[in-house]
């Protein structure tokens, strides 16, 4: 849009430049001319609801809201006159008297845009009678509360939900002063299609929407905000973390209406506090078989001695290392360097290693050019898609922001959504076509789709082996029409994107990955657009370091295993059995879990907020996570701990 024509306006007597297509407010902001606003939020559409941004425009019969008034060449605008200021204060008084805007028991007091405008206009009283309506408060959502009494009907929540989240759960009901923001068809938020991402909370200028985990715990002015990166799912959203007295008060998206700034319920709410008991001191299993607290010296010496012992007796290959892909790249590098060089073993893997091997084998079966994960496209490419095929994944659960991108493509680009998953998957309800084949028949289904798409686009390659529709119908239990409908959507799409996730990884079938890639290639017009939703925040970082390249674990039957869990959640996986059978198990983890309970030595580990490091997002972009709180005393950085153990060998 940089080629837009430049225009010149006169604002408050000064000549200022703007671009054709800008609103008067945008020109004012670009030229550092302050105009008060409430319903305006950069990046959202403008609706002129609050009228606080009114300006005088020469030639206009009356004052106009600058946020919706298109700027044009030669416009003469005045932003501040006694008359305008009079109206602005009047609007504030009307808002204050309309509902319950008493600040002293409001969760947003101190961080409220309405309040700060009232201060600005020295609104020490209201000249109008208060209406005192008794409006409901919706508290059924796990994290969000909507108090309609505090709502000023600016519509920022409605617009952010529709335009940024793509969910469009929220909208207005009724008319005039009876207007209420409602979810779906006037359901409570907790029972609606709301995905609890909290974008509405961050957009809300007042305390009408507040968070159960952050309310009354501290204001922005009382703490410190640190820009960091969310390390949970690999989308790599940028966050602003508010910390007061070494406690996380609130996590906001760094750029709510931009890319990767909206956050989801995991990044915004679930990390504010975690009640899982922490490991706060090294623990060593004593002769009675109980874990008892030990000093760092004793614990690291024991580990070093055991490594030396096993190396001497059974060779380095009797020792294996496992690491969670939730760790930052620095920790992953230190751990793999330690296992490979200091210990000398090649048996090292990530907890999600089997996902990597499935993807990697699938990619190399698809193409021999050795580009590996780099054949994948960026997450943003979803936003331009006109057809999204989702295979074996519910992105709204595993990678909610990626899921939102798909919803945005649906609402903004009229993209059709096709879901292929044999498992129960609520994302299917949002799809145009939900193909739910019999378990294990996904490959046949994709093969048939390939054949149908290839027929239309005539881009088949000799090496491709298609499945006939009749065979697919038999194997999948789906109707012929449904399969053909999905194929038609894919083949008519100009810009299709294929997203696949955990359902494909757990099937551990590289051929399925190759099928997904083949189908994407057949349907694509300009370049392959495939994205795999990798399990953890730094999966791609770990995989690119080669930690998951070979699976030696099961074959090696290690006698000693060193598991660096850090703040990852314990989930069953195929790595558990070899760990369970090992003679000596070291677990370095932030939280108590079944794994720490069966370990011989447990070492504490910091959580995401207590360390800094680099994370590689699932589409290969590097983000920096920062240390925002100090760890509980006695917890040392993982890299430091590994170095200490290495020194003892």
């Amino acid at each position: 849009m940089s080629d837009r024509k430049e225009i010149t306006l006169t604002i408050n007597g000064n000549q200022v430049k703007g671009k054709e297509g800008d609103t008067v407010l945008e020109v004012c902001r670009a030229n550092n001319i302050y105009v008060p606003t409430l319903c305006f939020l950069e990046g959202l559409s403008t609706i002129g609801a609050c009228r606080l941004c009114v300006v005088e425009i020469q030639g206009e019969r009356r004052i106009n809201p600058s946020c919706t008034y298109p700027a044009r060449d030669g416009l003469v605008v005045t932003t501040h006159t006694p008359n305008l200021e009079k109206y602005r204060r009047l609007i504030l008084e009307l808002i204050f008297t309309e509902r319950n805007h008493f600040c002293f028991f409001c969760a947003a007091s101190g961080d409220c845009e309405l309040q700060s405008q009232a201060y600005r206009y020295q609104m020490d009283h209201a000249r109008y009678p208060y209406t005192f309506p008794a409006l409901p408060t919706d508290t059924l959502n796990d994290f969000l509360v909507i108090d309609h009494n505090r709502c000023i009907l600016c519509g920022r929540c409605v617009r952010v939900c529709a335009e940024v989240v793509g969910d469009h759960t929220l909208d207005f009901s009724r008319r005039g002063w009876r207007t209420l923001v409602v979810a779906d068809l006037n359901q409570s938020l907790g029972q609606s299609s709301c995905i609890s991402c909290g974008a509405c909370l961050q957009a809300c200028p007042t305390g009408a929407i507040f968070s159960k985990v952050s309310a009354y715990r501290g204001r922005t002015s009382e703490g410190k905000i640190t820009r960091s990166a969310c390390s949970l799912c690999g989308v790599g959203c940028e966050t602003d973390v508010l910390v007061k007295d070494n406690n996380i008060v609130r996590i906001d998206g760094a750029n709510l209406t931009g890319l990767k700034g909206q956050l989801c319920l995991m990044g915004r709410f679930q990390q504010v506090y975690n009640e899982t008991p922490r490991v706060t001191t090294p623990l060593i299993r004593n002769k009675k078989g109980n874990l008892e607290p030990a000093s760092w010296e004793d614990a690291s010496k024991l580990i070093s001695d055991k490594i030396k012992d096993y190396k001497a007796r059974q060779g380095a290959s009797s020792i294996a290392g496992l690491v969670s892909s939730l760790c930052p790249s620095e920790t992953l590098e230190a751990f793999s360097g330690f296992m490979r060089n200091t210990v000398g073993t090649s048996y090292i893997d990530t907890l999600d290693g089997s996902s990597y091997r499935t993807i990697a084998e699938g990619i190399s079966a698809f193409s021999k050019n050795g580009k590996g994960l780099r054949i994948e496209s960026s997450l943003e490419s979803i936003l331009d898609a006109d057809c999204v095929l989702v295979v074996g994944s519910n992105p709204l659960e595993s990678h909610p922001v990626a899921g939102c991108y798909i919803l945005r493509a649906k609402t903004q680009k009229k993209a059709s959504i096709i879901v292929v998953d044999s498992r129960p998957n609520t994302f299917g309800f949002r799809a145009d076509v939900w193909l739910r084949p019999n378990a294990g028949s996904e490959e046949a289904l994709l093969g048939a789709l390939e054949g149908l798409v290839a027929k239309k686009t005539k881009s088949a390659e000799k090496s491709m082996r298609f499945v006939s529709v009749a065979k697919a119908v038999e194997a999948t239990g789906l109707g012929k029409d449904t399969i053909q409908k999905a194929a038609a959507m894919l083949s008519t799409a100009k810009n299709p994107v294929v997203v696949y996730g955990e359902g494909v990884f757990t099937a551990k079938n590289p051929k399925l990955v190759a099928r997904v890639l083949d189908l994407a290639k057949l349907a694509s017009h300009d370049g392959l657009k495939v994205i795999s939703l990798k399990p953890k925040g730094n999966s791609r970082g770990a995989w690119e370091l080669g930690i998951a390249s070979q699976n030696g674990m099961a074959k090696a039957k290690p006698s000693m295993v060193y598991v660096l869990m850090s703040d990852d959640k314990f989930e069953m996986g195929d790595w558990v059995a070899p760990v369970d059978q090992a003679e000596f198990v070291v677990v370095q983890a932030s939280y108590r879990s079944p794994l720490t309970d069966c370990a011989d030595v447990v070492l504490p580990s910091p959580i995401w907020a207590e360390r800094k490091g680099k994370y590689v997002s699932l589409d290969g972009k590097v983000g920096n996570s920062h240390k925002v709180v100090e760890p509980p005393s006695g917890i040392k950085d993982d890299v430091e701990v590994i170095a200490k153990i290495a020194k003892g060998i």
Binding site: F102, C106, A118, D124, H125, Y130, A134
Partner: protein, 178 residues
């Protein structure tokens, strides 16, 4: 110079504003030299004399308070109100979402700590108004100092300005509603 006569009235309020007034530290000495406190919570004078400045804290929630506000308005030259309750209705206005009868029933009968309660009905006690209102909904107010409670500094600023013959409006950076 003759002392400025001041009368205060404590309506539907929690005493936080009075506490804040006492919290002006050594300014209270200057104040005492310049101001004669007539009716106030510490002087135990029952009737309002004619005064220069009337000061009200609290919203108007009962008929007696309405009467008192009107009387003070009639007897003072300048009326200043302190605190969110007096300026906006404040915490007292929380009951306004419910009918008066429901509020009384909740307080005197349904409240967990009440046994065999009944709503008082003696003609000697004031009756609750339908809604708790800010003072300016009943009488004309000349000066507002919001805050819950207003900071001692806000009160000091407002009274100093008044003593120097100006009607103050709190500056933006001083104003607080909480």
């Amino acid at each position: 110079m003759a002392k400025v006569k001041l009368a205060t009235s404590w309506l539907d309020a929690c005493a936080g504003c009075e506490m804040s007034l006492l919290d002006v530290d050594e300014f209270i000495i200057d104040l005492a030299q310049a101001v004669e406190f007539t009716r106030s919570p510490i002087t135990d004078i029952k009737e309002f004399p004619e005064v220069d400045v009337g000061l009200i804290t609290g919203a108007i929630g009962m008929d007696e308070q309405e009467e008192e506000a009107k009387e003070l308005r009639a007897k003072c030259k300048i009326l200043i109100v302190l605190g969110d309750c007096a300026c906006f209705g404040g915490i007292c206005a929380m009951r306004n979402a419910f009918p008066k009868e429901e509020v009384l029933r909740r307080a005197y009968i349904e409240c967990e700590s009440v046994k065999d309660g009944k709503i008082p009905s003696s003609p000697e006690i004031p009756t609750l108004l339908d809604k708790a209102l800010p003072v300016n909904a009943i009488v004309k107010v000349d000066c507002f100092v919001p805050g819950c409670p207003p900071r001692a500094g806000d009160i000091k600023y407002a009274l100093s300005e008044l003593l120097q013959g100006r009607i103050p409006v709190l500056p933006s950076d001083m104003m607080r509603f909480d």
